[in-house]
């Protein structure tokens, strides 16, 4: 379905209506169109351009059935405490808020809007025309580009001047640059072949190609309406991006951001139903010239070969509602989280087959995962939302592909951080009460929680600096700072202020592939 294109003639009609129809009728049409725009401009980056939900719940006639308009109005005014939902009092007029509530309670979830390869191509913006004019070296003091840490700052409203990618020198803990992104930055990925390029993806599916040496965006492209999926190929030549709205993925030239091929995401789910699917994780691997992409609703993982025609190998029956994943064994094994059956499925990317399905707590969200080598074993760590009764972090032996331990923690978790030189695996407790302020640290050897840090705010997305000496944590919404700890003593050593920081991405990730591995082991595994 082509909502965008369909709206065009409609707006022409409204223009006509303004001429022909009496005043009252014109006002109604305009209001409905304006309210839709109001939704797109204020709500859609989190609640989904199709009204179907994204990182926040869907808002449509079905999901809001029976809800009190008064309660919804006050929720929009005050925001929702303990969530990312900001207060719109003072930003939207009371009439607008009332109008929105009425609009949402009468608008069904929209059909998948089109965003074609031509739309993608036309959306490219060039900020630096001649890249040969860029400096040959970083314009700031830094020992190694591995020391760059990027933070996806959402901004209070998920858009506006607070939305940016902030880059920090993880040795000095000083900000070295920031890239305004317009809407909430969500994912930062780095080019494995050339340390100067980073790619920042927003919640509204724009990708910025960032020159880290001069700390500016050189190009951007809009790959869809919503969706965090982003991967970079091992040779640094391709990017792949996937969307929730619409249900597609695209391979781009990493240099020009020109789209090369789009993929309609649909397939037969584990229950035998043909479904159109959101894009889950997309990952490039040091193991081969491929991308792997998870089709969330179809429960399939597709392996795309980076050669003529970009052929796809489909691996079916991976799980019910896939989400994120991490790599192990030189990038030849992929561990994919499956929400609805609470498993992590191990996939062999060489044979393109499922190895095994492993128990993974409750609603696993591995958030990039962690892999550590301890006493001759390769251990994978997986977090999970823990919405049911099980509050554990799963530890798997990735050689034998079996569960080693389910480590009890104090709540649901979203992302584990580890580093070869740091003694603890850090997990963020996200349960919506005081526990959300905390990070728990699991000792790599004993596999027990040995310490709980009270970070403040909604603490999440821990990440170690590339040298493993420091642990970075976002104090998130209601904290508005990134807090830095010494990774051994766990003393707080620094704080960097920004609006609603979320994901933290060390440039070191390109060298150790999955957090916790050392670059040496990576070489050995290849």
């Amino acid at each position: 379905m082509n909502t965008i294109k369909k709206h065009l003639p409609k707006s022409v009609l409204i223009g006509l209506a303004a001429i022909i129809l009496p005043f009252g009728a014109q006002a109604t049409s305009d209001t409905s169109k304006n309210t839709h725009q109001l939704y797109e401009d204020n709500c859609a980056s989190c609640h989904g351009s199709d009204y179907g939900g994204f990182i926040a719940p869907g808002l449509n006639s079905d999901s809001l059935k029976g809800r009190s308009p008064t309660a919804l109005r006050s929720l929009i005014m005050t925001g929702s405490f303990d969530t990312l939902m900001p207060p719109f009092f003072g930003r939207l007029s009371d009439d607008d808020i009332r109008g929105l509530v009425k609009h949402l309670q009468t608008t069904p979830k929209q059909t998948n809007p089109a965003w074609t390869i031509d739309d993608i191509k036309a959306s490219i913006k060039v900020y630096v025309k001649d890249e040969s004019t860029l400096p040959a070296k970083p314009t700031y003091a830094i020992n190694s580009m591995d020391d760059v840490i990027g933070v996806a700052a959402r901004g209070k409203y998920g858009r506006g001047s607070g939305s940016k990618a902030v880059f920090i020198n993880s040795v000095t803990h000083k900000q070295i640059g920031e890239i305004p992104t317009g809407t909430a930055a969500h994912i930062i990925d780095y080019n494995p072949a050339n340390p100067r390029w980073a790619y920042v993806k927003t919640d509204t599916a724009e990708i910025f190609k960032v020159d880290l040496y001069s700390m500016q965006a050189v190009r951007s492209v809009k790959t869809g309406f919503n969706g965090p999926g982003l991967g970079v190929s091992r040779d640094g030549k391709y990017i792949m991006a996937g969307s929730y709205v619409p249900h597609n993925a695209v391979i781009l030239d990493a240099d020009t951001l020109e789209p090369l091929k789009t993929f309609e995401l649909e397939g037969i789910d584990p229950d035998g139903k043909m479904v159109s699917s959101d894009s889950g994780m997309i990952i490039g691997t040091p193991f081969a010239d491929i991308f792997a992409i998870a089709l969330e609703n179809a429960g399939q993982v597709w392996v795309v070969d980076l050669k003529e025609g970009f052929p796809v190998t489909k691996i079916e029956n991976v799980g019910r509602h896939l989400h994120d994943a991490f790599l192990s064994h030189g990038g030849s094994k992929l561990m994919v989280a499956s929400y609805d059956d609470s498993i992590v499925t191990a996939i062999d990317l060489k044979d393109r087959k499922i190895i095994k399905k492993l128990e993974a707590g409750c609603v696993p969200h591995v958030g990039g995962g962690s892999v550590v080598e301890v006493d001759g074993r390769t251990l994978g760590f997986g977090t999970n939302f823990g919405d049911c009764d099980k509050m554990v972090v799963s530890v798997w032996d990735l050689d034998k592909m079996e569960v080693v331990k389910q480590v009890p923690v104090s709540g649901g978790t979203e992302s584990p951080a580890a580093h070869a030189n740091a003694p603890y695996v850090a997990v963020d407790i996200i349960s919506k009460d005081r526990r959300a302020r905390t990070i728990q640290l699991i000792d790599k050897k004993s596999l027990e929680v040995v310490k709980t840090l009270d970070v403040g705010g909604h603490a999440y997305f821990p990440e170690y600096s590339a040298d493993g000496k420091f642990l970075y944590v976002s104090a998130g919404y209601s904290g508005d700072e990134v807090v830095v700890y010494d990774s051994k003593s766990l003393e707080k050593v620094a704080s960097v202020q920004m609006e609603s920081p979320a994901g933290i991405f060390s440039h070191g990730r390109v060298r150790y592939m999955t957090r916790g591995l050392s670059p040496d082991e990576m070489k050995g595994a290849k």
């Binding site: 005014m77 005050t78 009092f89 009371d94 901004g155 209070k156 607070g162 209601s478 904290g479 609006e499």
Partner: protein
Amino acid sequence: MGLVSAQSVNAASIYAGEAKAAAVCSQCHGIRTPSADAPFPPLAGRDADYLKSALKQYRDKTRKSDIMNAIAGSLSDDDINNVAMYYGRLKP
């Protein structure tokens, strides 16, 4: 002895104030500063007595604001004292 316990009472209430501020006030006013795009005044470093009297006026609706009347209405005297103390001592 008296001094020590007075101090710990103080510390406890600031901690409680921090928790309440993080959960309620910071939603709009931020901790140190509100969002660059937000139409709300900063509270950090404001006079604690002023904050207390303002919150009490909002609570008993002698000072009118749709949103503050609703939010202050849910705060106890202790909450108001704690929050005002916390924000008053915070460096903006």
